[in-house]
Symmetry: C2
Subunit: 418 residues, 2 copies
Amino acid sequence: MSQGTLLYAQSGGVTAVINATASAVIGEARARRVRVLAARNGILGALREELIDTSKEPLAAIRALAHTPGGAFGSCRYKLGSLDADRAKYERLLEVLAAHDVRWFLYNGGNDSADTANKVSRLAAEFDYPLTCIGVPKTVDNDLVVTDCCPGFGSAAKYTAVSVREAALDVAAMADTSTKVFVYEAMGRHAGWLAAAAGLAGEGPDDAPHLILFPERAYDEADFLARVRKVVDRVGYCVVVASEGIRTADGTFVADAGGGRDSFGHTQLGGVASYLAGRVQERLGLKVHWTMPDYLQRSARHIASKTDLDHAMAVGRAAVRYALEGRNATMPAIVRTSDAPYRWKIEPAPLHRIANREKTMPRAFIRRDGYGIPAAARAYLTPLIRGEAYPPYGRDGLPRYVALRNTPVARKLPAWKV
Amino acid sequence: MSQGTLLYAQSGGVTAVINATASAVIGEARARRVRVLAARNGILGALREELIDTSKEPLAAIRALAHTPGGAFGSCRYKLGSLDADRAKYERLLEVLAAHDVRWFLYNGGNDSADTANKVSRLAAEFDYPLTCIGVPKTVDNDLVVTDCCPGFGSAAKYTAVSVREAALDVAAMADTSTKVFVYEAMGRHAGWLAAAAGLAGEGPDDAPHLILFPERAYDEADFLARVRKVVDRVGYCVVVASEGIRTADGTFVADAGGGRDSFGHTQLGGVASYLAGRVQERLGLKVHWTMPDYLQRSARHIASKTDLDHAMAVGRAAVRYALEGRNATMPAIVRTSDAPYRWKIEPAPLHRIANREKTMPRAFIRRDGYGIPAAARAYLTPLIRGEAYPPYGRDGLPRYVALRNTPVARKLPAWKV
């Protein structure tokens, strides 16, 4: 057994493959005889000293994590502020780490988490506490800089492209007498990566999706509606994919415009798809349907991308290696060396380069008219959704997802409220 | 080559496996050297004399139909009225059938279609036109009587159960700091079969879905909200599955209550999930997310049930046999002979027994408290979602769904506007 303990925590919205990263982290650490604790509900568990002893889980359960969506130890939305503003919290965190002899801290999340991991590493250095902090990438939004893509994105992207292709066949079959316009709402508050992935569903110019709305382009209702009308006239129906984060030229989120009161004066929850569908119905008089997959798109392990799964496992293994090698304040980044054939490798990237930055869709990945994806985006996206990685199914027809025991570690410190 | 032609038409909302039925119909007919025409856009194509020559499709394309969702020849929402009211249309239909030497008419749809096929057969008898009419069952709503279940339902049910299980893992992981209540909207305007299928996602009493709202039970807001609160207090989060067709005790559709005007005075499209989510947020002050899968649930061939696919193919083959045997005005019905092991067979049922009737969830399939499914419903539902039947995927990571040539047959009659 190596000296010291590795602490693993999940952060932010979970994905179809974040547990695959956890599986790889624990598997790799076990192979190297390193003890792994996990924080319950992400950084909050670390602050509250709610830690889980992963050595209590059988190997089969750790392996099954690789095909189980969600976040096996719990995750959280909780951002630590600056070292000055949140100093007490950072110090508490170090205290908990020290109490459990944690020498390696792996934080699996997005750019917020990279920032937190980076700050923890700075504070540890300040206190001369020997700690190696590693950020492990994860986000369906695909908005981390430096890394070519983010584990979690490829599977959500595959879900999106497959779902749009399937729904489009449905709409096409019925358009003569039923729905003419179908609107699909994709996650992505600031970056249009998932909406872009929907573009993979179509090949020819008349294939769905006919119009993609990106948060990187201002939403212009008149132009949008005129295009919907033209597509319906030409193709017979129109499939629209809209990022949840589209905004008008003055910066107003379209989703916020959709909220309001229903006829009983109750709060009406909006959403981009329902809003756009309403406008199409009202202004164009066309029968419209819409879908908001919401969490389904980021938890759909049943249609995970094999490439994405491979990435998720690879960053997990690399994170353990980097930790034990003492590559402090780094993140294993996915580096693409070739589009076709698709080739990639993992390389360490400094956390400070990733922290708090956001990668939106580059101009070259949005078609000149603003409503689709060009060949460059296809070349980038296609390998990320390639390959199927089905979970095992039971006799009940359902995927066999594992639930861990999550055995708590005895507390060593006084309780701390957060 | 047998004398005469078989006409196949799809009707109403399409499913993940209606094309599998088409594949079986055409395959069986080809094996028996019977010519198959298909009506473009269902009965409308028959009325308009827009017919498709399926002999122009290569065998590989017909086989690929078995894994392609949507409706390969187009479907429609178009109900013929009584023989008296719509006599001209029925006569036109017979005229088109006669012009193309159609001796067997297979109508693939729900209870409306069973009614239409039945009426066509009566009119043909009246005119001494030798025609055998067969209804072929299809509907994700699972609301046909006589048949134990309906092709299309099992796959939508599997999609529902898998999606709810996956999304629940997501919600569970984040509930500490994020979403506490998640609402999933299932199709089913009058019958709660798909919502019931979501119940398969959970096994123990605290597993999601925690509350299912059936159209067969009056929606009582106070009772519902109190239960949501109790589940959140006990489990930490609450997953709700609601049928789109739930109604309050006075018969008002909850989905209609949800519609209204947004803050700009625009039409607000409602939906049960968004409405319930709004009530939970407003009345309980809990963070809520919701999803409306809409067409995704009925077109998700990527997660089709093997049992459902087997049913869809079997009714297609049986329909051709019944047609050629002259079993007029019948439908191949699925007869269950055993739950465990699951055993079934196909038997002919008279169309008049199926036409225009609707099978809602029996009392024994709804838990006594009205918010879940008991063992009897599980025993019925489980075999229907059992088995995976994945479509083939291309190197682009997407299912290889087939697009037919749909070669039109030359018209023989004057145009007829409908």
